[in-house]
Amino acid sequence: MNGSIQQKVALSIGLVSFILCLAIGFIYNSVTDFIQTGAQVLQSRQILQDLNNVRVGITQAETGQRGYLLTQRSSYLTPYITSIHDIQRSLDDLHLLAKEDIQLGQQLKLLDPAIRLKLNELQRTIDLNRTVGKDAAMRIVMTDEGRKLMDLVYSIIGNTINAEDVLLLGRQQRNLYNQQITFVALPLSGFIIFFMLGLVYWVVSRESVRREKAQQELDQLNQVLQKNMSLLNSIIENVPGMIFLKDAKELRFQLFNKAAEQIVGFSSEEVLGKNDYDFFLKEQADYFTSKDRQTLTLKTLVNIEEEEISTKQGQIRILRTKKVPILNEKGDAAYLLGISQDITEFKRTQEHIQQLNHRLEGQVTHLNTLNKELESFSYSVSHDLRTPLRSIDGFSQAILESAEDKLDETEKDYLRRVRTSSQQMAQLIDDLLNLSQVTRAELNIDLHVNLSDIVCDIATELQRLEPDRHANFEIEEGIIVKGDSGLLKVALHNLVCNAWKFTSRQPEAVISFKSYQQEGIQVFALHDNGAGFNMAYAPKLFEAFQRLHTNKEFPGTGIGLAIVQKIITRHRGKIWAEAQVGQGATFYFTLGNVQQEEARSDNA
C-alpha cells in the first residue's frame, strides 16, 4: 500500500462515513415508507369502515322508514334520523379521506347522488304519510323505485369496497416489505460499519507496527552512522599527516588534527574558529590565504610543493601541501580541505645528499684525472721503461759475443746476470701492465665460455713447449660459464701456468680442473700435486709482489695471482686456495652473474 498513514486513515474514515450516510439514508427511507404505508393502511381501513357505516346506515334508514310506514309509530323514525346522521358523518369523513385518494373521490361522485336520491325517496314517503296518509306513501313504496335505488347504492359501495380492498392489500404488502427491509438494513449497516472500523483499526495498527519497525531500523542506522562518524573522526585524528579544514567564507579553521597540532605546535582548541593571521607571520598568512582563495575560486586541487610555516615554538618547518575545495550540493565551495606533509627532514636529507653528490662528483672528476694520468703513466712505462732494458740486454749480449775471447767466465757470468735481471724487469713491467689492463679493461660478456676448452688449450701449449715433461691433465668436459672470455683465459692461463710451474719437480705431474655445486653455487677447482705452500701465508697469496718461493726455486714476479683475483672479482666471484707444503695446491673460484651493463658501469 502506498500513501501516508494520514491519507489512509482519512480515506478509511471517509469511506465509513459515506457508507454510514448511505445506510442512514436507506434506513430513513425505508422507515418513512413504512410509516407512510402504515398510515395508508389505516386510511384504507377507515375508508372501508366508513363505507360499511354508510351501507349499514342506509339499510337501517330504510328499515326505520318501513317500520314507521307499517306501524305508523313515530318511534321507528328515531333510528332513521340517527342513521341519516351516521351516513352524513361517514360521508364527510370519506370526503376528507378522498382528498388523498383520487379513486375514492371518483367513487364518491357516484355514491353521493345515489345516497341523496335514496334518502330523498325515503323522506318523500315519510312526508307523504304525514301529509296525505299511509296509502299514498305505500303506493310509492310499492313502486320498485326504492328497491332500485337501494341496489344502486349497494352496488356503488360494493365496487368501492372491492377497489379499496385491492388497494389495502397492496399497501399491506408494501408495508410488510418495508418492515423487512428495515429489519435487514439496520443490522447490515451496523455490520458494515463495524467491519470498516475493524479495517481502519487493522490498517492503523499495521501501519504503526511498520512505523515501529522503521523506527528501529532508523535507530540501528543511526548507531551505525554514529560508529562510522567516530571511526572517521578517529581516522582523521590519527592519520600521520596534517589535515585541516577551513570554512570557505572567512577561512577560519574548522578542523585541525593531531598531526597538525604536532607539526605546527598549536592545539586544535587554540586554532579552531580562528584564521591564519592569528598565528603565522603576515607574509606566510598572505601566502596561505592566497593559495586558499585560488583553490576555492578555481574549484580544483592546488598542489604546493613546498611552503614554509613558523611553529608556535618559532621554528620554521617546510610543508608539502595539497588544498582541495569541498563543494556543497549547489556546487559552491563550502570548505577548504588541506593535507600537509612535513618534509623538513626530507629536504634536509635531500640537501645533504646533494652536497654529498656534489662532493662525489668532484671526487669522480679527480679520479678520472688520476685514471688518465695512470693510463699515460702505464703507456710511458710500457714504452719507455722497456727501451733502456733492451739496450742493457742488447749491449750486454753484444759484448758477450764480440769480446768472448777476452772475458773470463766470471765476467761472462756477470754479464749474463745483467741480462737475466733486465729480462726479469721486463717481465715485471709486462705483468704490472697486465694487472692494470685487467683492472681497466671493459668486460665483454659472452654467454657461453667453455672453461674446459680453455684449460685444454693451455695444457696442450705447455706440453708442446716442454715435451719432455711427464704430466697428466684431468680436465672435466663441458664446463660452460658466462663471462669475459679474454679475461677468463688470462686468469686460467695464470692458474694453469702456476700449476705447471710448481709441479716441474714432480716426476709425474697431475693437474686437474673440475667443477662442483656447493650451496647452489658452482665452484671451480684447479688442483696440482706440486710444491704446495704453507697455509699460514694463504692470506698474502693474492697480493701483488707477494711470493712464497724464491726466484731460484720457482721464477715469477708475484703478480699472476693478483691478476687472477682481479679478474675473478670483476666477475663478482671469489677465489681461495688450499694447500700443504709438498702435497700440492688447489685453487677454488666462483663466478657471479655479471651483466654487460653492470660491467660497463663497473668500469665507468
Binding site: D384, S391, G394
Partner: protein, 144 residues
Amino acid sequence: MHSKAIVLVEDNEDDEKLTLMAFEKNGIANKIIVLRDGEEALDYLFGTGPYADRDLGDKPQVIMMDLKLPKIGGLEVLKKIREDDRTKYLPVVVLTSSKEDQDIIQAYNLGTNAYVRKPVDFIHFIEAIKQLGLFWLILNEYPR
C-alpha cells in the same frame, strides 16, 4: 738480389744501433736509411725539405717505424703514407715497445702491414728481425 733500401724510423740511438746489429747478424745487406723523427720520415717519403731532390721513384722495400716519435708521431706518419697515392702501398711494419691495445688497434686501423713488439731479450730481438727480413725482403711481393 735486387737490393732496395730499408727505412728505419727510430729516435732512440741505442735501439737504432741494436736494430742495425740485428740486421747485420741476420746478414741483411740492404741499404738502411735511418730517420730520426716523424717529420724527417715524411720529408724523405714525399721528397720535401732536406730530401727535396730525392728520387721518389726509389721506393724502400719496407718501412720499420716506432710509434713514439718526436715532432710527428708514428701513427700520424702512417696515416699520411696511406693517404698518398705515391706511398699507399708501401709496406709499413710498426716496431715498438708498446703493447697497448689502443696502439695496436689504431695502427691496424690506419693500415699498418704488421705490428711487432720489440722484445727486451736481444736474442729474441735478433730472431724477430730475422723473421721480418725473411718475410718483407724475400717473400713479400707488392705492386711496383
